[in-house]
Amino acid sequence: MSDRIFAAVWLLLCIAGLFIGWRIHSEYNYEPLGPRPFPLILLSLMALCAVMLLLRKPDRVSWPSASVLYRLLLLMIMMLLYGWMFEKLGFPLSTTLLTFGIGMLFGARWWAAALSGVVMGGALYYAFDRLLDVTLPLGSWLS
């Protein structure tokens, strides 16, 4: 079932892609092929694969149970928030929060998660920003 849903969604995306790709147009034409055919060939081949996937016997896909899915969703949201707040909160604070959140999700005691969060945020910031010269944001709220 998941195979067919995926194939159907992918087919629609390919068709949308073909419409967008068809409008690629270049003003100069000093080479026979130009920028348009290659993506269109790829999209058609993908569409063909999707159709074949749709028609054949689907594989069994074992998705995790509802409670694991719920935790997965939480993890995804945490990672997205982390990415979104990375610059605003700064690396040390956002990493502390992320480590605490993931720690709780993976079954750590709250104090262990909090401690490792503070250590991770501080230590990684110091290691990368100060020792290794990789510039990381300190957060707009601090400056």
Binding site: D3, G17, G21, S26, P39, L53, D59, L72, F86
Partner: protein
């Protein structure tokens, strides 16, 4: 003789204190990544690749770091196979079959030391193979034109597609997804924007680092949440740590045979350490004749370890000589080279000898380091298995984010990383292999450029693509490799009911 001069030049590069330190770090990190179940060479190389770039390492040092991590992983994978019965990486699956029974018999130390030595022999033979064959192959492929390269890339993708999974259709689709993702961004020849949706962040294309980290780090984290710990106890390596002379002589034949086999399997695009170690184990089992394999036979530990290390080193050959990676891990390394504006390919041997030969010399040095590290420090590495996931996972997440942020310093890249990670998780759950996808993404631009260049030469006449004998052979092989296995399976299925009747 020329090779010798170049090799010495390579040692001059690899022996600088900085590069020696980098090789040592790479070996150490590689072994740890290999030990941790779930994290394999491709994850380790993917996570470290942007960091190497962010640290402004010169190209040869970055490549040395990634290569030593790669071979370190192949060493590390055996430790958890033997002590925990959970392979640390895919190449070490076979090692668990005899390694864990040996550990249960109290011979963990023996299994670990013999596998370290056979790993060393396997890699050394394969590196000697690189030194002998790579320059010849590079010389030969210098004559390749765009049409030949186009055929070669199609062949490499077909190989990886058909061998990486039981599911050729999904592998091909994965490779196409990778190729299609590579077309996003400004077209180099005409300056036309393709599939950018008027976003500034996409005008430069989807960043390679973001794709690699998303697919191999973020999606791995999501998979880790799912895998429940099996609760198996780590066997402590105690008692006799070294193998004795009798055990060593028992393994010589198996190790040498498996090393050669592993090397040749590694050179082929598509077939990697996993396949090499499986073939080596099976054939040694046949040669032994007895039924001791699977019950703690020492040869069953030595053979797959020699093969998987040899094939890891062998897989550098197509990458260095043709610029076409034959495995997911070397695909990431090729992507790393392009970050440095180095186009991997046959010209590298003449134009960038420092990088090529420095890498080969570093492989030899790293191998010695790994052998020295992997016998006395085994208990230190085994202790890594006790790191709890609630500490390990946030570390991976934060380091991945640092790597991605360091490239362009935008929030957009971080969000795209998470998005690709979720996409990768769904694909992996549905049994889409990731190696063809990343290979497609790495080769996408080169494939299109070579296709367009070939057609420019011929003024738009398609036959140029298959006119030369080399491209003809490669294209026919590519089609055959994709079509034959499913047909063969169908034929066997049809035959099966007949024979049972």
């Amino acid at each position: 003789m020329e090779t010798w001069t170049f090799l010495m030049q390579g040692f001059a590069v690899a022996m600088t204190p900085g590069n020696l330190l980098i090789a040592l770090t790479g070996c150490f990190i590689g072994t740890i990544v290999g030990v941790l179940p779930g994290l394999g060479p491709i994850n380790g190389v993917a996570i470290l690749m942007p960091l190497a770039f962010a640290l402004h390492l010169p190209a040869e040092s970055a490549l040395i770091l990634l290569a030593t991590v790669y071979i370190g992983c192949e060493y590390g994978g055996r430790i958890s196979s033997i002590l925990l019965n959970v392979p640390g990486d895919a190449g070490a699956i076979m090692t668990a079959l005899d390694g864990y029974p040996m550990a249960q018999k109290g011979q963990a130390g023996v299994a670990l030391s013999i596998s370290a030595v056979s790993s060393f022999i396997g890699s050394t033979i394969a590196i000697l193979g690189i030194i002998l064959f790579a320059p010849l192959l590079a010389n030969w492929s210098l004559a390749f034109g765009p049409a030949e390269f186009f055929a070669l890339m199609v062949f490499a993708i077909a190989c990886l597609g058909s061998m990486m999974s039981h599911n050729p259709l999904k592998s091909v689709l994965a490779a196409l997804i990778g190729l299609a993702m590579a077309t996003v961004g400004v077209d180099a020849n005409t300056g036309v924007y393709r599939f950018t949706f008027d976003s500034v962040h996409l005008s430069d294309g989807i960043q390679f680092v973001v794709v690699v980290i998303g697919l191999f780090s973020v999606s791995e984290i999501l998979l880790m949440l799912e895998s429940t710990s099996s609760g198996q106890k780590v066997v402590r390596a105690s008692g006799r740590m070294m193998f004795n002379l009798k055990e060593a002589t028992q393994c010589v034949g198996a190790t040498l045979r498996s090393s050669l086999l592993g090397f040749f399997v590694g050179v082929l695009p598509g077939a990697g350490a996993t396949i090499a170690s499986a073939i080596a184990y099976m054939s040694e089992k046949k040669i032994s004749g007895g039924d001791t394999f699977g019950k703690g036979d020492i040869r069953g530990v030595a053979a797959p370890e020699a093969a998987n290390n040899a094939s890891a080193c062998g897989s550098f050959i197509p990458m260095l000589t043709l610029g076409i990676p034959g495995s997911g891990t070397t695909a990431v390394m090729v992507g790393a080279l392009t970050l440095y504006n180095i186009t991997p390919g046959p010209a590298m041997f003449t134009e960038q000898p420092d990088i090529v030969w420095g890498l080969i010399a570093a492989l030899l040095i790293g191998n010695v380091m790994l052998l020295i590290m992997n016998i006395p420090m085994i208990n230190l590495f085994a202790r890594m298995l006790t790191i709890p996931l609630w500490f390990l996972v946030p570390t991976i997440a934060a380091i991945s984010a640092v790597g991605v942020y360091a490239v362009h310093s935008t929030t957009f890249d971080l969000l795209l990383m998470v998005g690709l990670g979720i996409f990768g998780y769904i694909l992996r759950k549905m049994d889409f292999p990731m190696s063809p996808l990343i290979l497609g993404f790495v080769l996408g631009e080169m494939l299109e450029q070579n296709l367009r260049r070939a057609l420019s030469i011929s003024n738009g006449n398609l036959p140029i693509l298959w006119e030369s004998p080399i491209s003809k052979v490669l294209l026919i092989l590519a089609v055959a490799i994709l079509l034959l296995p499913p047909l063969w399976q169908r034929w066997r299925l049809k035959r099966a009911p007949l024979t049972t009747e």
